[in-house]
């Protein structure tokens, strides 16, 4: 194949083909446009104000490393006037986090940013290694994810910073939208699409400046800029990717690369249709600002990047299948009652019934409006009386594994997490 020439400078050989529009670019033009688009996201959403102190949630992985690098570049190029700090969470996983923290420490030197590391052990009295000893290797991701989200807020508060940026990319957002859509979780669907959660009045705001950036381009940016990032699978969730909504996204991307941004945009459009009564967010603010992220995202996935665990899709499929089966049974019954009639008539009856039983719009009315308060135990942001972290901790401290928390959208009586105890199992069992 004859080499392609860059579509922008029309001089240099193209090395990159952009997923969103198939544009062929050379290395320099790609880096320039990638940065320009993030600058555009930041300015059009008024994400920052001069003088803001911003904590960058840094894991040492590709997304947060690219975020730190790009923010530093843009802050200097466009005089944002930001004071950037790296904030890392030490989950206490030997052989995994201690290695990636070394990467963050190097990043701190490379980008000349102060670094703050907060550990699960100091915050919760438990390292993930200890949690796994009690819980086992299955299901510990819930703990890690819940702890990490709160840990970022608490780390930011220690630094006196009220705005944390995370490296969530377009693939992450598309995945979350898809999961919330499949779950029919409208409040979360609305919140997961907004670039920022929380507002001026919140203790800690969260935002995702890389929201429209493809994971593929983030990796290519890191590669071509030779950024120093850490890659290894978390020891406790190997292959978490397989069978997840993530693999569906990646398969979609292969067939039609624009699908990822299309999902993000569709999610935003759908979020606009979610009634204010459900989200607790006023419509005019929905795109920019939403409720706290304190307990927004998946509790089941690895919180590093909001990725869902592999089992989720399977669970979802089961649920959908059950729904389908149920509908099938309903129709069967009604078909029998009208079986004496001719086919046409039966069809009409079914159609009518289908209309009645079909859409579950009534569920919307049953949704509880989630309001942000503080946890009765630890005092940090939560939309529940007791936050998820404290609920999990209570279980851990009682040495009771197999505790699951579940927020049921149909449960309008109470907004307190329902706790399912699957029997008290001996530690290590």
């Amino acid at each position: 194949m004859a080499p392609s020439i860059c579509a922008i400078c029309e001089v240099v050989r193209a090395l990159i083909i952009r997923p969103k529009n198939h544009q062929k670019l050379c290395k320099a033009c790609f880096i320039a446009i990638f940065e320009a688009e993030i600058h555009h996201t930041i300015t059009t959403t008024s994400l920052f104000s001069p003088g803001d102190r911003i904590a960058i949630g840094a894991s040492g992985g590709k997304d947060s490393t690219v975020l730190a690098s790009v923010l530093k570049t843009l802050n200097e190029r466009h005089n944002y006037g930001l004071d950037l700090v790296l904030l890392s969470i030490d989950e206490g996983i030997k052989g995994y986090r201690d290695d990636s923290l070394e990467t963050v420490k190097r990043n701190a030197v490379q980008y000349d940013m102060p670094l703050k590391i907060v550990g699960y052990d100091e915050l919760y009295g438990w390292t993930m290694d200890q949690v796994v000893e009690v819980i086992g290797k299955k299901g510990n991701c819930t703990y890690c994810g819940v702890f990490r989200r709160q840990a970022l807020d608490r780390g930011a508060k220690m630094l006196g910073i009220n705005h944390v940026v995370t490296g969530h990319n377009a693939d992450d957002v598309a995945e979350t939208i898809l999961m919330n859509l499949l779950r029919g979780d409208l409040p979360r669907l609305a919140r997961s699409t907004s670039i920022m959660t929380g507002d001026e009045s919140s203790e800690v705001r969260r935002s995702k400046p890389l929201k429209y950036a493809y994971e593929k381009e983030i990796v290519l940016y890191a590669h071509h800029k030779k950024l120093d990032y850490f890659t290894t699978e978390c020891l406790y969730s190997p292959e978490a990717f397989r069978g997840s909504a993530r693999s569906l996204i990646k398969n979609l991307e292969r067939v039609r690369p624009s699908a990822i941004l299309d999902l993000v945009r569709s999610g935003e459009d759908m979020a606009r249709l979610v009634p204010e009564a459900v989200t607790g967010i006023s419509q005019c603010k929905i795109q920019k600002v939403s409720l706290s992220s304190a307990d927004d995202e998946d509790t089941s996935g690895c919180g590093t990047n909001g990725r869902s665990g592999g089992g989720e899709m399977a669970d979802m499929e089961k649920k959908l299948q059950a729904d389908e089966d149920a509908v099938g049974r309903e129709v069967d019954v009604t078909a029998k009652t009208s079986s004496d009639n001719d086919g046409l008539h039966t069809d009409a009856v079914l159609l009518k019934l289908g209309k009645k039983t079909g859409p579950k719009t009534k569920m919307v009315k049953k949704l509880t409006r989630q309001t942000l308060g503080t946890c009765r135990v630890c005092g940090y942001m939560s939309s529940q009386e007791i936050c998820k972290a404290c609920t999990l901790l209570e279980g851990l401290n009682k040495n009771r594994p197999k505790m699951e928390i579940e927020i049921d959208i149909k449960d309008e009586e109470s907004s307190i997490p329902r706790i399912k105890m699957e029997g008290v199992v001996q530690a290590g069992g």
């Binding site: 194949m1 894991s59 947060s64 590669h223 290894t232 590093t304 990725r307």
Partner: protein, 107 residues
């Protein structure tokens, strides 16, 4: 096979993919000029060769799935996205550098 029937190329793994190749990030391999059917060897051929002959890890489907490189793994040929080079049909040249980067690990 005589040595002139082969040529060298550099294969690199990153983004966590090196974990599937015994932690090796870079290897130089010698490949035949023609495959068994007398066709010029392609990246597609290389992928299967790596999967069948080089990879010791049993999790082959984390590299190749249904005969294709797994979605989420980028392939760069001499730093260019292989989509610009005809993907699997690209005919390998002596001293080519083929980089496999996983986008799936960590954040």
């Amino acid at each position: 096979m005589a040595s002139e029937d082969k040529f060298n190329l550099v294969v690199e793994f990153s983004g966590g993919l090196e974990l599937l190749f015994s932690g090796r990030r870079k290897l130089t391999i010698s490949v035949p000029i023609k495959d068994n059917e007398g066709q010029a060897v392609t990246v597609g051929w290389l992928v299967h060769y790596l999967c069948n002959e080089v990879m010791e890890d049993s999790r082959k489907n984390m590299f190749v799935l249904d005969g294709h490189v797994c979605p989420g793994i980028l392939v760069l040929i001499n730093d260019a996205d292989w989509e610009l080079e005809g993907e699997a049909s690209y005919a390998l040249q002596p001293n080519d550098n083929v980089l496999f980067v996983s986008t799936l690990h960590g954040g």
